[in-house]
Symmetry: C2
Subunit: 767 residues, 2 copies
């Protein structure tokens, strides 16, 4: 990092003081004169037609200003298609419908002068349902003659046609194998549980322009879909995003509430704010896709992986949302991580009358790599190999084709595995005596790779504008969102580094679609990679102008100049001038102000990680405790070490939660939500966290990223899960193939293990 | 206009609905949680030292949160100079001082939880003054041994060293003259009287960033000076300007209140708003510079102007503000309008203990052209010539050197005079019999020229960014301010025309220094000329990108394309595509978003006008009534005819006010303000306005302006004054050489005229 003055340093985050002083404003903090408060009435049945909906008593309540139901909101179709257009990117959801498809779906909204009145009015809305048969599991949804949740292509309850990926010759692969392992894996229904519940506020002005304040990762997508649904050109919709309390992917969706908020504001001619309760973040939010994966792999005696076959099934819930993307990305990811010439994969995604699954950190890959990495561990044991050595042997490397279809750069995965083995003394750990008492410890490891801007088939684009003020300070205008990750600080570092300014001389303007250049949104771990590179290129354009001016003053050629920490020097001489003086006015020449803009079409990049985990299993309570984690990440050039480490630690915390505790449950008879609150939905808190010794490698910088940087946002949530499951196997000899792994399941498995011990031919494997 | 689809059309102004519905928010409409209200205590003496100032009783009043006086505000010097830095661009004013220099100067400010409490607290502040001798007129200020108002170079009470302009040989000029006329002319003290009183609101965030909401013409200047005075880098000061209720030049200054508002907000850690009362817009605002001009010109018998000599004296009041600029521009302007080879001019500007004069529509030229154009009329009568013919003969023309030092383009002034003569049937009017009764009518005419971006010696710069959204609509980001003139509508027209879009497809983002590119400010009639050209160039950059993409689709070369009203065509073929479709996503290619930016260094341009006026003088009451005005303006390409005509009508209304009614008066013994309110300060209202038949010529478009457009903002206030004075002479034979011309002066002059009629050798000329 010695060559860089600003990047690679953990500078003070630009949003730090605002956040610790409580000065930072979130949408729910905002006030406008005449503001109305909106609340949603939600269905108490999972699948039904609405026979009658009577809002007259609600409307009669003093303070109630408007009530919307499916009867008085527009029924909008997506341009040129027969499909409804509103929240779901899959185009299968009306703003409000005369049918409900899951328990908790919005059937009406109220705007009133206080939240209390709005809440009271919900009870006065009478809804008469005609129940329909409901399905909650993908098995039931896939069954011949199952109740149809939508009338859509490709027919049945499939969200999209099956995703099929095939390479090489799967039959020959298995024929060559000395060992074939087959297993069924299952992922539960964790939710993102962001600190800041979804919130939006809408206001129309006298010219028919709509302003939307919203907590979203994708302001320009919100603008685009809002404009389409409301029939407005894009420049009449302004979307404003300031501080956000997390998103984790789920806030790259729309949620009906934005449209309803806008329509309420239009009807009442007053600003309207709609904030989810915590319960509604479950009912109206997005979960990870519950998944079932059948996986079969073939290995040669020396560990070489020769065949991989998988059938993946995702449960999309009542609407499609990101089901297509998750199915494509999650399935395609199985072509990689461990190289395999013969691959045969199929991914399917079904509608059910369950809560809506959507985009969520790890986007399909969490589920499929969980299966792969547990099966690799199992294979190693069966082959009598060290699991880490088996993974190292098969790890993808430079030139291999990534899931995106591009060639990988570098050997990041191998580096991560090797460094992790060294950090924890892996070889010695393998040789140690195993615990035999009540508390048993075990070590496991898991791997992952994750792309930045790497969605197959999508040509992405990053944009940035940089303005240099007449005192040499600069403003970066970026459309990237700050979910709370410190992304804008990293972007400011990149601009400062490129221009040779001090970090404090750069400020960032973001979150206003009227003023910042278009942005695809903050997801796919690409904010630093894509938005950062665009910012670097825009800064370079300013630098060109700045050096031209400075060259005159220094009597040098622009190409001979360099700038560091606010001073421009002629290389190899003692001539220099501060940036401030270079732009200052001089006799006959006014102060300079420069504007630079850049558009960047990224290459695809991949980051890598190997997580090494120690767990302790209490064989009397079934409790699994993660004792320590050593995550090793290869993410190219690191811009802000503490922020990158923070991403890794946060991902591990979330991953521990998903693997051991978190599961949003519904009653499988009625579809009723069972734990839509933070009392019954368990998450690890900061006091529950084990020590984490994060190692960040910069061994495979990506030429497509700013100064070689790659993404890190999603990576850490992927490998922690199988690492824990593998460590549990190491501790107690029980192979779990699902998450979350709950104490009662551990106890049950241990009971079965003891029973099996009496029948020596049977292996200790739990369902 | 037939070649243009959008410019040259009076499209519906973008701010129209917001303004007529009351939806438009001005600074005084804005609310923030915890807002405090600030009020100013003002001096009751014109020149004094503050011996003691006691704020303890005010601070003890419940609800008062802070009181600032000279004792607890920083005493800031301008970087590298011994002079104070705050409001006055002349660097002669502290934020608050221990000396007061005019009656009504701020000596303390209070921030409280309501305006009423803040107002009440003012009375509780005790100030003890030590009076100093005061001067109110420039004669007194210039006198040897006069009390010094500032201790400054160049010494005495001069604001700047005398401005001297000399061309040719003035002695030889007068020697060649057949007629020499000499006279003294005097201009009063009109004020801009904008509808929206000055207002600002300041808030600091947890990171020490300052946001300023303000009604200003020069947001970036406010940012720069605020940053300097408060010791902040520019990117930590954000200045926001939305709607404005007029400025007329005066709001290109700062007013102490911004600094005080910011300091109060910093001290109280709460947002603070300070709004002037109407009275304070007089006391703390800016007036036109009262002026005294001695002018002597020599003519040949055939009317050729051969010599012009002038001594101009401006009264700056207590601080310098724009005194230097007004003196330079007003004096230099006398080199032109009517061509003259031998010129000798001197302009001086004095401090007095009077209200502060500043920038005001017509900026020094109103005063000096009043003198010239009345003396030209007098010369014509003495030479036995038609005044219009005399002016036509001497009018500046193509290639003549303008006051800015550049060569003039075209023959706009001649065109205006000729067309006006034709419009009113001037020749016949000259021949008509004169009224002899109580009500006497007369016709007069006056001329003017005014520069856009034409300050001598200043290299100006316009900037713009244009973003095209993925549906083909665009947003213009401009730093130009909208004083209420419709300037942003004109800029949107220019962008639409350049890009070949419909007007409705363009929106404008402005008034936020964090997001828009730097702008010099809205003054000097250059918003359309300079800001408009920058917008055109930025749009052209987008067009280049758009045509590249469209060319692929239309299988044509970009150079063969043209776009009109949202459709791109291949010239000479029937192939076309809508802009919307051209940017829309296609298989494998995402939707396009383009960003273009431009910086423009303008040439200097001049607009021209001749005003023809009919007045009626009531010889019994002395009342002068303007019966009709025919203004003829040559302003290059007209972008928005109604808005341009609106500027002209408004300028004429303001000019009638200044010539006949408006004069902000002070008591010449104490300096006390006498008519700082709209009851005693008289202005013509809409019902007082005569018919105006505006003629706009486009005969001399300027290649430096967008589509050839030039400025129009300041022009109409200049020529109306001398036209009225000349018409009064035509009506009653009395020559007035000052403004405002009041009924009692008319009556007095008529009495003198009747007395002089008994002594036939004396001419009918008033003082």
């Amino acid at each position: 990092m010695s060559d860089n003055a600003v990047i690679g340093k953990s500078v003070k985050r630009q949003d730090l003081l605002a956040k610790v002083t409580g000065d930072a404003k979130y949408v729910a903090d905002m006030q406008l004169p005449g503001l109305l408060y909106a609340r949603s009435k939600r269905s108490t049945i999972a699948h039904a037609l609405i026979r009658r909906i009577d809002t007259s008593r609600a409307l009669a309540l003093p303070g109630v200003k408007a009530v919307l139901t499916h009867e008085n909101v527009p029924r909008v179709l997506h341009a040129g298609s027969p499909h409804p257009r509103s929240a779901s990117v899959t185009c299968d959801q009306y703003i409000l419908d005369d049918k409900v498809r899951y328990w908790g779906e919005t059937v009406a909204v109220v705007a009133a002068t206080s939240e209390e009145i709005a809440e009271a009015a919900l009870d006065l809305i009478e809804v008469e349902y005609e129940p329909l048969p409901a399905v909650f599991t993908t098995e039931d949804a896939a069954r011949e003659g199952a109740p149809l949740i939508h009338e859509r292509e490709p027919g049945g309850n499939l969200v999209l046609p099956p995703v099929k990926v095939s390479r090489g010759d799967i039959e020959r692969g298995f024929a060559e194998a000395d060992l074939i392992i087959e297993g069924e894996y299952e992922g539960g229904r964790p939710t993102p549980a962001y600190m800041e519940p979804n919130a939006c506020m809408c206001q129309w002005d006298g010219n028919g322009n709509l302003t939307v304040w919203i907590s979203t990762q994708t302001a320009f997508m919100v603008r685009g879909i809002m404009a389409e649904v409301l029939g407005l050109p894009l420049h009449k919709v302004r979307v404003l995003v300031d501080h956000m309390g997390g998103g984790f992917g789920a806030k790259q969706d729309l949620f009906q509430s934005e449209f309803l908020c806008a329509l309420l504001a239009k009807q009442t001619r007053r600003p309207v704010r709609m904030e989810y309760t915590r319960e509604e973040t479950f009912l109206g939010g997005r979960t990870r896709h519950p998944a079932k994966i059948w996986l079969k792999q073939g290995f040669k005696r020396d560990g070489t992986l020769v065949a991989r076959q998988a059938r993946v099934v995702f449960n999309s819930g009542a609407y499609g949302s990101h089901g297509p993307g998750v199915t494509i990305v999650g399935t395609t990811a199985m072509t990689s991580l461990y190289r395999c010439e013969n691959v045969d994969l199929e991914g399917r995604c079904f509608y059910t009358n369950s809560p809506i699954a959507g985009a969520f950190r790890g986007y399909g890959v969490v589920q499929t790599y969980y299966a792969i990495d547990i099966q690799m561990d199992e294979a190693a044991h069966k082959l009598g190999m060290d699991p880490a050595e088996l993974k190292l042997k098969n790890a993808v490397r430079d030139g291999d084709i990534a899931p995106s279809g591009h060639a990988l750069i570098g050997h990041g995965l191998e580096d991560c595995i090797r460094r992790g083995m060294q950090e924890v003394g892996w070889a010695a750990l393998r040789q140690r005596a195993r615990d035999a008492g009540v508390l048993r410890r075990g070590w496991g490891m898991g791997c992952e790779m994750h792309g930045s801007s790497a969605y197959p088939g999508i040509k992405e684009q990053g944009n940035a504008i940089v303005k240099m003020n007449e005192d040499g300070t600069v403003v970066l205008l970026t459309g990237t969102a700050g979910l709370g990750t410190g992304a804008h600080t990293a972007l400011a570092q990149i601009v400062a580094e490129e221009l040779g300014l001090r970090f404090e001389s750069v400020s960032v303007t973001h979150g206003d679609t009227d003023v910042v250049p278009w942005d695809i949104g903050a997801f796919a771990s690409h904010t630093t990679y894509l938005g950062g590179k665009a910012a670097q290129l825009a800064a370079a354009e300013i630098k060109r102008q700045l050096f031209e001016r400075a060259a005159d003053l220094l009597e040098a050629a622009p190409k001979d100049l360099e700038s560091v920490q606010g001073v421009i020097r002629v290389r190899g001489s003692d001539r220099s001038i501060s940036v401030r003086d270079a732009v200052a006015p001089r006799k006959g020449v006014p102060a300079a102000q420069f504007v630079g803009s850049a558009t960047y079409h990224p290459t695809k990049s991949y980051s890598f990680a190997a997580h090494f985990v120690e767990v302790e299993v209490d064989t009397e309570t079934g409790q699994i405790t993660v004792r320590q984690v050593v995550p090793v990440h290869e993410i190219g050039k690191v811009i802000h070490p503490i922020a990158a480490a923070g991403q890794i630690e946060g991902g591990i915390q979330q991953g521990i939660g998903h693997t051991l505790y978190e599961d949003y449950q519904i009653d499988l008879k009625t579809g009723r939500s069972l734990n839509a609150n933070f009392v019954d939905y368990k998450m690890p808190l900061s006091m529950d966290m084990p020590p984490i010794r994060t190692v960040i490698l910069e061994t495979a910088p990506d030429p497509g990223g700013p100064f070689g940087a790659k993404g890190v946002g999603e990576d850490p949530i992927v490998a922690i899960g199988p690492a824990i499951a593998n460590a549990v196997y190491d501790a107690i000899g029980v192979r779990f193939r699902h998450y979350p792994i709950k104490p009662e399941q551990v106890l049950q498995a241990l009971r079965e293990q003891r029973a099996a011990a009496t029948a020596p031919s049977k292996e200790g494997v739990a369902a």
